[in-house]
């Protein structure tokens, strides 16, 4: 595979052809925030937190869905980008109902951690507080729409890794919602295998296992890579 060279925050670096900007940026030790991206899943390009500036184009590029190109000159933390990222996280916090003090993942939530890292101490936008249900019909997992950021990680993990495609989106715009099968209680789903992958990959407290609620359990989304690698190399074939 070919090698390309590009400039990242004033430093000349090299990358493999076909890599995404995000991969390259991370390989080079730059901390670029993301929410909808997860190693092992297809890219959604939806949260827009990974936007970067590229010299020569006025458009901002979402690093997770942009392939590297020879000669790119990328900046990841300009004043404008940092400001936008803060706004995006504020918008997410205002969109549903996030009361961290009573959340099962308080202290272990990617959204919360990101807000802290970006120095968000208050939200400038009117909280929407939509009236959303909590689906606690499943014996082991709970889906709380009030904490969902619609990143679609659960949907992709369930479809692409577990192969169940139990979860999907319904509605559009701010009315979008995660659904189970044909919008039915999770507990009544015939397609869900109960594998818990969605729980592990959900960055927030929107999908948790009942044992999470008691506190103390970390989510481990990195299992995806192990599974996928194992499958590819057929490690488990007898």
């Amino acid at each position: 595979m070919g090698v390309v060279t590009l400039t990242l925050n004033n430093q000349l670096i090299s990358a493999r052809e076909g890599q995404s900007l995000l991969e390259v940026i991370r390989e080079n030790g730059v901390d670029l925030p993301t929410l909808c991206h997860l190693d092992g899943l297809s890219e959604r390009g939806g949260c827009r937190l990974c936007v970067v500036e590229a010299e020569g184009t006025s458009r901002l590029l979402a690093a997770c869905v942009t392939p590297v190109q020879e000669g790119m000159n990328i900046r990841t933390h300009t004043e404008r980008l940092v400001r936008y990222r803060k706004m995006l996280v504020e918008l997410l916090l205002a969109e549903r109902t996030h009361v961290c003090s009573v959340c099962a993942v308080n202290g272990r939530c990617e959204l919360q951690a990101l807000a802290a890292r970006l120095g968000i101490d208050h939200v400038r936008y009117e909280p929407l507080h939509p009236d959303l249900p909590v689906d606690a019909s499943h014996g082991r997992f709970v889906l709380d729409h009030n904490r969902c950021i619609l990143c679609g990680r659960c949907v992709r993990a369930c479809d692409e890794v577990e192969g169940a495609h139990t979860l999907d989106f319904m509605g559009r715009g701010v009315q979008s919602r995660i659904i189970v099968d044909l919008d039915q209680p999770w507990g009544s789903s015939r397609s869900c295998t109960g594998c818990g992958k969605c729980v592990q990959v959900c960055p927030t407290g929107a999908i948790v296992a009942r044992e999470n609620i008691a506190g103390g359990v970390e989510k481990r989304p990195d299992f995806l890579l192990r599974i996928l690698e194992g499958r590819q190399k057929r490690i488990w074939r007898w």
Partner: protein, 550 residues
């Protein structure tokens, strides 16, 4: 069918028409039909039957004639070719029309029923795309053929290589009429050169812009023109399968397109070995389920493939990876409508209309506070003043022109100071608006600009697909802020917050919907900032529209 047979069909149709003493063309476009056009056509037929005139008088449904707000319209074509256009017809009036025209000498009709066809509404227009609209019967293939239809395709298949067809389109300077104005010939050439065993051609007839109905009209009024344009495109780029993506709210357009496809297939104008050449091309219809975002090309393709209609990041562009991974050419319906005349009369002829960088004509849906509303086609470069005051007949009630909103939810406003700017892609952009797909809403001094901006923002909020954060969540917050402003509850920082969100959406949204959603706000802020400030600082609506009762 071969070329001689096409000519025979055209001649037969022309002499059939000439055999009539008198022909009544009833507008059968959606606006006229909803004003009662169906009953008028029925009444005409009954009156003709009552007089036993069937052999010498024809009553047919035709497409949109332009001044839709005056419908139902009926055009009468006499034996000597003389035409008369009647407005606001009713079944009762229809019977008298038959008496006056089919049994001459018996009665005379009130002068005020007529629309003068030499009025500026018509004389300032140039009809290229709409030349058949209101003249051909959209339900009869012969009618289109009689007007020269399919001869461009016959000519191209016999005498032109695909390269030459592309070259002709490049020469015409035609730019995509779907909104962005990308040069059509350049797109076709890219498609032609794209490697791929299978290629697709798609006509985008989704037309979700509020108030716009250019594409619906073309599909309803002259469906074969769209098919011929698509077939020419398919030949030029090497595709064998096409789709017409019709908005779900356009059942009549879908029905007429479907019927046209069947008729063309039966005659060998679509399908296998068209005009006995080696060229095959099939077209199918796909109906949208009512989402504005499905007009966006990547969402449209997802929808055609039966997936959730959500955009995906470009590149890869459809010409690189489109439907089922194959190169796909997507053009707007009106864009395709321009193709047959370009091939027939040459790109140079077409480039003779319009301006240096914006060639040809553009169809607009003229609406709002003008005396004449409806569908118009004008050469690009015409000034807004000519459209509003000559074609549109000025502002009713002696009020003042305030602004024209162009480009729908992706567009902006042009204030009175720029009435004399020639309308082309570059000038509109320089004024902070866009050509867009052709919605043109005229506003007088009773319109409140923050309120107008709120209307479009609400539209974008409702139509956001929800995939990306800035658009999904940002549009809601922008509507809230505009609501505070128009409701007299805003503080000065709200304006700052609103402008910040505009920039965020513009720069970080995934697709064109979110990227352009702030435009109506930005453009009204640019030209009418004082109105926003009056609402915020003085709790006053200068136009007297908003209820600022706190």
């Amino acid at each position: 069918m071969n070329r001689t047979e096409l000519q025979t069909m055209a001649e037969a149709e022309r002499s059939r028409q000439q055999a009539f003493r008198c022909r009544f063309l009833c507008c059968a476009g959606t606006p006229c039909l909803s004003a009662g056009g169906g009953a008028v056509q029925q009444a005409l037929k009954q009156a003709v039957a009552a007089r036993n005139f069937e052999a010498s008088v024809e009553v047919v449904g035709a497409g949109c004639m332009g001044p839709c707000s005056r419908g139902p319209l009926v055009r009468v074509i006499a034996e000597n070719g003389e035409e008369t256009l009647y407005e606001r017809m009713t079944p009762e009036k229809a019977a008298r029309l038959v008496e006056a025209h089919a049994a001459p000498g018996s009665t005379t009709l009130p002068e005020e029923w007529r629309i003068a066809e030499d009025s500026p509404f018509f004389s300032k227009q140039t009809k290229i795309v709409l030349s058949g609209s209101g003249r051909v019967d959209p339900e009869r293939l012969e009618s289109y053929v009689g007007e020269g239809g399919y001869s461009a395709l016959a000519h191209a298949l016999r005498e032109m290589t695909p390269e030459e067809v592309c070259e002709e389109v490049v020469r015409s300077g035609l730019r995509g009429r779907g909104g962005a104005g990308y040069p059509t010939g350049v797109k076709w050439n890219l498609m032609r050169k794209a490697p791929g065993e299978r290629k697709f051609v798609v006509a985008n007839g989704d037309e979700g812009d509020p108030g716009a109905y250019m594409d619906r009209t073309l599909m309803e009024s002259d469906p074969h023109r769209v098919l011929e344009g698509m077939a020419l495109a398919a030949y030029a780029v090497g595709a064998e399968q096409g789709y017409v993506y019709v908005r779900g709210e356009y059942p009549l357009a879908a029905q007429r397109m479907e019927r046209a496809i069947r008729a063309a297939e039966r005659r060998g104008l679509l399908g296998h070995r068209i005009f006995e050449s080696r060229f095959n091309f099939r077209i199918d219809i796909r109906i949208g389920a009512g989402a504005f975002v499905c007009g966006e090309e990547t969402a449209l393709m997802a929808s055609i493939m039966g997936r959730r209609g959500q955009p995906v990041p470009r590149p890869p562009y459809p010409a690189q990876r489109g439907l089922w991974g194959a190169p796909t050419l997507i053009n707007n319906v009106e864009t395709f409508g321009n193709i047959p005349p370009i091939i027939q009369r040459g790109g140079t002829w077409y480039a003779g209309y319009g301006t240096e960088k914006s060639r040809g004509t553009k169809v607009f849906a003229l609406a709002g506070k003008v005396s004449w509303t409806g569908l118009i086609e004008v050469p690009l470069g015409i000034t807004l003043r000519e459209i509003v005051f000559d074609i549109g007949g000025g502002i009713p009630g002696g009020r003042a022109f305030k602004a024209a909103q162009t480009g729908g939810p992706s567009g902006g406003c042009i204030p009175a100071a720029h009435l004399d700017t020639p309308m082309d892609y570059e000038n509109l952009q320089a004024l902070g608006s866009i050509m867009g797909s052709g919605g043109l809403i005229i506003m007088d001094d009773t319109s409140c600009m923050p309120d107008v901006a709120k209307f479009f923002m609400e539209f974008c909020m409702d139509e956001s697909c929800g995939k990306c954060t800035p658009c999904r969540s940002g549009t809601v917050q922008m509507v809230r802020l505009l609501d505070r402003i128009t409701g007299g509850r805003a503080v000065p920082e709200d304006l700052e917050r609103l402008e910040d969100l505009c920039m965020l959406l513009k720069e970080t949204s995934l697709c064109g919907l979110g990227q352009t959603a702030p435009n109506p706000v930005l453009s009204t802020l640019r030209h009418f900032r004082e109105e926003y400030e009056a609402h915020i600082r003085e709790r006053r609506c200068p136009a007297g529209v908003c209820d600022l009762g706190n």
